[in-house]
Amino acid sequence: MEDNKGLILDVKNLAVRYETEDGIVKAVNGLNLQIERGKAIGLVGETGAGKTTTALALLRLVPDPPGIVECEKMELDGRDMLSMSVKELENVRGKDISMIFQDPMTALNPVFTVGDQIAESIYLHEEVSYTEAQKRAVEMLELVGIPGERAGEYPHQFSGGMKQRVVIAIALACHPKLLIADEPTTALDVTIQAQVLELMKELREKYKTSLIMITHDLGIVAEICDEVAVMYAGNVVEKGTLEDVFNRTKHPYTEGLFNSLPNINDRKAMLTPIKGLMPDPTKLPEGCPFHPRCPYAGEDCTQQQFTRSISETHYVRCCAYERPGFRINRKER
């Protein structure tokens, strides 16, 4: 960890809260995240876990008001993001760090052609003429598998899967160092999802882009990520390599997530849902936010939690490990 040269992103103690009339919504609470260059990390969690807010905070795009971001350290490729001016941020966004949004139907501007929309980010960030930018836009379009002659068409002339390809083309147009993909395939059908994932995998290898993949689908994580961070109520509760989290699950919430999934190989098995509901982010429980739903909860769970390291790569935010004889109960899959 001393050698920060290998880190593309280093975030310490990120907290985001939204101060609304109905109370303070604590969306992200003291999150730490480090990503090595060229690696892909999956950010997994359910609605309200703070995944998208984390992504917006990384781009310094949290709307203020009502959003308030506090952070000890946020470095992108060794550069401090927190002290950047608006102008500097504009140069970084789209160039060094870019984002693919969840819904391709609303992410594109309906009154510009897709070619212009891709060319815009190239023209803004690289010193090229507009004609040159448009030429490169056509190349990008072909790279994501859309015939170049369709560059003059408008988003409504494209299907959902193709629109998402256009969004990917925009995000990758300037070969960013870090790509944040926020549920890029949730709005797509499975066969189209398979195509888009395949494309993202290829392009990532080609450009050596680091990736934060925000998703609720553990299947997608297993397919394209190197590491996983499981989020719950604004914090990473478990982080590790795929092996660590999938095969040596440590956090009770991660266990619950896996056990809730229908098993495609054993259709007779009853599902074991996590009992209860996500906590209200305006009134988070004391200590571990998962303890009211946790089957292993004990008295020490209401105390302030901190992250424990299980191995060099595997971290878990749970105090049950101090108890003798504690083990996680994963269903055989």
Partner: protein, 317 residues
């Protein structure tokens, strides 16, 4: 003797559009046994939701027969249909837009009871609503709350309670868990299974999520552009998919397991337009095995026991 609750014969629904006839549902046939679940799977635009609505005559079918407990729904007049609908209910996909925001939970659940005049006195209605709420696992204190105060999982429970209010025999579940998180999804799926066992309900379960449908259904029908391309018992379909589309669909599911990487069949090409589709196999444009015979529309044929496939090449692949 098979106890059939619903039989659909040659059901079609065409929509008139500016550019021509949109073939939403194009001559489908199936039967549903009492107490069982038929899963209807397919991607967006394949006609699965339209099928659900046409069966209930929420949309008038273009042609075909819908035989529910021996009677053809299409031949019923308004009054008969109203009575028949007591036995047939629908659970909607989106628990956010399918509940009236100006009504309380109890008003929403009691609406069908009051509308059908089963129970007259206010007290009886309230008692019935309270009982329904406990059946679906809603706490009694939510009796007078409004939907916007509740999360997606609880809202979907309201939708289920409303569907159960008429003590139906048959429920169409249209993507009941797609809008929910996995941990809540499992709660709702378990609830639907328990209710099925308790009240001997028959379900048509419409979804695009193949792992959910596998878990939930006895029989699965795969739809593609208004046609059923393959139909088989759930286990058989997953163990031995025969139609090229089903194979691609199954291979596309991301499995939350390491080392589970299987050979993925990537479909090329875009989907054929459902408006005035050509008289050839609907999947031909995306199929890797396409040949001259595919210019003719294949029929759904029984390939092995209870396993139906609509593909000319089924015995050669």
């Amino acid at each position: 003797m098979i106890d059939t609750i619903l039989e659909v014969r040659n059901l079609t629904k065409y929509f008139k559009t500016k550019r021509g006839m949109l073939h939403a549902v194009d001559g489908i046939n199936f039967t549903l046994e009492r107490g069982k679940t038929l899963g209807l799977v397919g991607e967006s635009g394949c006609g699965k939701s339209t099928t659900g609505r046409v069966i209930l005559r929420l949309i008038e079918p273009t042609s075909g027969e819908i035989i529910f407990e021996g009677k053809d729904i299409r031949k019923m007049n308004h009054h008969q249909l109203r009575l028949a609908r007591k036995d047939m209910q629908l659970i909607f996909q989106d628990p956010y837009s399918s509940l009236d925001p100006r009504k309380t939970v109890s008003q929403i659940i009691s609406e069908p009871i009051i509308a059908s005049k089963i129970l007259k006195s206010r007290k009886d209605v309230d008692l019935r609503v309270a009982k329904l709420m406990s059946t679906v696992g809603l706490a009694g204190r939510l009796f007078n709350t409004y939907p916007h105060e509740l999360d997606g999982g609880r809202r979907q429970r309201i939708g289920i309670a409303r569907a159960l209010a008429m003590e139906p025999k048959f429920i169409i579940c249209d993507e009941p868990v797609s809008a929910l998180d996995v941990s809540i999804q499992a709660q709702i799926l378990n609830l639907l299974k328990e209710l099925q066992a308790e009240f001997n309900l028959s379900y048509i379960f419409i979804t695009h999520d193949l792992s959910v449908v596998n878990h939930f259904s006895d029989e699965i029908a795969v739809m593609y552009l208004g046609k059923i391309v393959e139909k088989a018992p759930a286990e058989e379909l997953f163990a031995n998919p025969m139609h090229p589309y089903t194979k691609a669909l199954l291979s596309a599911i991301p499995v939350p397991e390491l080392g589970a990487m299987k050979k993925r069949i990537l479909l090329k090409g875009e989907i054929t337009s459902p408006i005035n589709p050509p008289d050839e196999c609907r999947f031909a444009k995306r199929c890797e095995y396409v040949c001259d015979r595919c210019r003719k529309l294949p029929e759904l044929e029984e390939v092995s026991r209870d396993h139906f496939v609509a593909c000319h090449l089924v015995n050669e692949l």
